[in-house]
């Protein structure tokens, strides 16, 4: 599928054509392991055996299924299974063809969903896993296609090990951000994570927060929801709590140059969250003397938000209001390839965009955040 195949119903013809030529920086691409054994070359004998016998262990009930079985096998588009075998996202050549070439993608930001080193209950294994994942990404993905950029996967519940992992890769142009899961033992703004933010900022690396991980907490403040149709939405809701925590804990006062990219939560919630936090900050600011600015200002200066799953207002033009309210420079395009709910660059933003607006959203905002040429 190519961008020309997509139609923007509300956009005039000449804009559709210019969009087809547009370069895209995709801020959420999922590569995948063919199997866990792909990590064997990067693990010591001890951890190879651990991986094979005990496997990844996080606080979940099942060995392989999600507690909320997903909408599609491997969470993915049916046409994304590589013809040569393996799960969606595991075949570089097929990913190049189906995603990068077809959509004129200039850079793709890789986020490995599973396993992560961060939600491992055995923290030594988590650290070994993170290191192995990073070596695997480097050798098999970013070195083989310069369009693909990796995130340094860190065992973020162990800040010292996470910082060591950042130091191992920082300066390597294949790694453009640090990836942490969002379902953490404590909210991400809490100070146990600050050394990680300091290390990332020191190296000019944004923190990429793709929704994911397991922390044993209920998926809502009101308890465990029942259905995947809820859980899918609740992960977007939980990204609001992530942003709130980063702001309210004063992370951006401690580390003013820190950039945070919130991935796979959509973004239409950003304005109303800003209004709510500002309003109640007005009433309770004595509790947060460490904040020198209104919460909305940190949301606007230190955090960026990816588009997918694209917000679809009942009146499409309301999306323009959302971008106006949150700031157009905050918006980063993402496809979430190869997942079932992925967005296609030709189709997902159902809004008339000027050429300048298109350039910002589809590429230039991301270029600036990640310091890409």
């Amino acid at each position: 599928m190519s961008p020309e195949d997509g139609s923007i119903l509300t956009a005039p013809r000449e804009q559709r054509q210019s969009r087809a030529r547009l370069k895209v920086i995709d801020c959420d691409v999922h590569h995948a392991l063919g199997s866990l054994k792909d990590l064997h070359p990067y693990l010591s004998q001890r951890w190879r055996e651990y991986l094979d016998v005990y496997g990844p262990r996080s606080p979940v009930p099942f060995t392989r299924s999600s507690p909320y079985p997903k909408a599609a096998p491997a969470l993915s588009r049916t046409d994304s299974w590589p013809p040569n075998g393996g799960p969606p996202g595991s075949d570089l050549e097929f990913l190049q063809k189906q995603l990068l070439d077809a959509n004129n993608i200039e850079y793709g930001m890789l986020h490995l969903l599973s396993p992560t080193g961060m939600d491992q209950r055995n923290q030594d294994f988590g650290a070994a896993l993170a290191t192995a994942i990073n070596r695997w990404q480097y050798e098999n993905w970013t070195q083989k296609d310069r369009r693909l950029k990796a995130a340094i996967v860190v065992p973020g519940e162990d800040a010292a090990a996470a910082v060591a992992e950042i130091e191992r890769w920082a300066g390597n142009p294949d790694f453009v951000q640090v990836a942490m899961t969002t379902h953490t033992i404590e909210p991400l703004g809490r100070r146990r994570y600050w050394p990680i933010y300091q290390a990332a900022a020191r190296h000019g690396l944004p923190i990429g927060l793709h929704t994911g991980g397991h922390n044993g907490h209920a998926v809502t403040g009101a308890g465990w929801c029942s259905y995947y149709v809820e859980e899918q939405h609740n992960v977007a809701i939980s990204q609001q709590a992530v942003a709130m925590s980063m702001v309210c804990e004063g992370v951006f006062e401690q580390v003013p140059t820190l950039k945070v990219v919130i991935v796979e939560g959509g973004l239409a919630w950003v304005p109303s969250l800003a209004w709510r936090l500002d309003r109640h900050f007005d009433r309770m600011r004595a509790e947060l003397p460490h904040l020198r600015r209104k919460p909305s200002e940190y949301l606007r200066s230190n955090i960026w938000y990816t588009t997918q799953p694209s917000d679809e207002p009942e009146r499409p033009e309301d999306l323009r209001r959302i971008f106006d309210w949150m700031g157009w420079d905050r918006v980063l395009y993402a496809t979430d390839y190869p997942h079932w709910d992925m967005d296609n660059p030709g189709q997902s933003i159902k809004l008339r965009l000027t050429e300048a607006e298109q350039k910002m959203i589809y590429a230039d905002n991301a270029r600036a955040v990640y310091g890409l040429a």
């Binding site: 909408a71 404590e186 209920a218 809502t220 929801c225 925590s245 919630w269 900050f281």
Partner: protein, 355 residues
């Protein structure tokens, strides 16, 4: 006089003084338990009364908790806004106790105290009934005990309890509520069963308070997708003190997600936003309004319904200054509906009592 004259205030908070003061409303067994064990102090940690946000400076009595004086509530909430009626939502620990029997006893005591010391003394007051929400059998007993008293118009839950409110063990409560024309009120607050965010326990009270919006969002999803409104087609659920300016973006995402995954919940046979517009209501305060008053009307247009908001002052909480309960930019034509029409439709028992 305020522009809210004749309105129905759907959220005021008489302060429960404490278990010792409620002793006359308990059975002898519980009087002894409470006294011998020294049980007291079930004020919810979600609303510490000394926090300025939870008691407006000019609405605080010289002594005691904000909301503890009937005279002040009469003068400031009822006369002050010219309200024809106000619905009392007592926030006290019955919903958060683990001992179901004790929870039921505390709920009953709160209700009887409210009748004797507030409702019987002020004819403009209506109330939510407190029940042992985590034990449907005991909760229904209490609903049946009070149902004949039409001054009770709602059953009160917290936004964050044991489990999401769509789960079936709560359904007998909804059946009883629907049978008697009672709304389900879901008030901000946590029973601390779960971290207030799915990302763990935040550090600050501000975050806990703000997170009531996210919790109520999750509640709406669960109520809809468990099929509560398919089963109870006339039930209304009111988000009290949860904010509502997040509603447009929440509706958009709920519709989109349902479109993708609706095969999982075949009883949800129309877009969630439609179901929300029919069944979900919100109290006006706090209005987390956009900074430009001109955008307030935009948000209401995006909500796409004039039926969903219910006037409230949230007395004695400090949500606004003076008597400007409507946020700047709130369109005049919609105000009458918010003040009177929507509360009447949401709480049918108000009409019976007024006729």
């Amino acid at each position: 006089m305020s522009a809210t004259v004749g309105g129905i205030d759907c959220d005021v908070h008489p302060a429960v003084p404490g278990l010792t003061a409620l002793l006359p409303y308990f059975e002898p067994y519980w009087r002894e338990q409470i006294t011998v064990r020294g049980i007291d102090g079930l004020d919810l940690a979600s609303f510490p009364s000394r926090v300025p946000a939870h008691g407006r400076a000019d609405w605080r009595p010289a002594k005691g908790k904000p909301g503890s004086s009937l005279k002040m509530l009469q003068a400031q909430a009822l006369d002050g806004f010219g309200s024809q009626l106000a619905i009392c939502n007592p926030l006290y620990g019955a919903q958060a106790l683990f001992n179901d029997h004790f929870a039921a006893a505390v709920a009953r005591a709160i209700n009887d105290w409210l009748i004797a010391e507030w409702l019987d003394r002020e004819p403009r007051l209506r109330a939510s009934m407190t029940v042992a929400v985590e034990n449907a059998e005991l909760a229904v007993d209490e609903i049946e005990r009070l149902a004949a008293d039409k001054r009770f118009v709602q059953v009160l839950f917290l936004a964050m309890g044991d489990a999401p409110l769509g789960r079936r063990h709560y359904w007998p409560i909804y059946a009883a509520a629907e049978r008697h024309g009672l709304a389900i009120g879901v008030h901000a607050g946590s029973a601390a069963r779960h971290a207030t965010s799915s990302n763990g326990w935040p550090s600050y009270h501000l975050e806990d308070y703000a997170l009531n919006a996210q919790a109520f969002q999750s509640q709406i999803l669960n109520l809809i997708h468990e099929g509560v409104f398919a089963k109870f087609p006339t039930l209304k659920v009111v988000g009290i003190e949860t904010g509502f300016t997040w509603l447009p973006n929440f509706m958009w995402r709920a519709n989109k997600t349902w479109r993708g995954v609706r095969a999982e919940v075949p009883w949800v046979d129309r877009p969630p936003a439609e179901i929300m517009r029919e069944h979900i209501r919100f109290t006006l305060q706090p209005t987390d309004a956009p900074p430009d008053p001109a955008d307030m009307a935009v948000v209401l247009e995006q909500i796409g319904s004039d039926d969903m908001l219910l006037f409230s002052t949230d007395y004695p909480h400090a949500q606004f200054d003076g008597t400007e309960a409507f946020p700047a930019g709130f369109p005049e034509p919609a105000r009458r509906r918010v003040l009177v029409d929507n509360p009447r439709r949401t709480y049918p028992r108000l009409q019976e009592a007024m006729s």
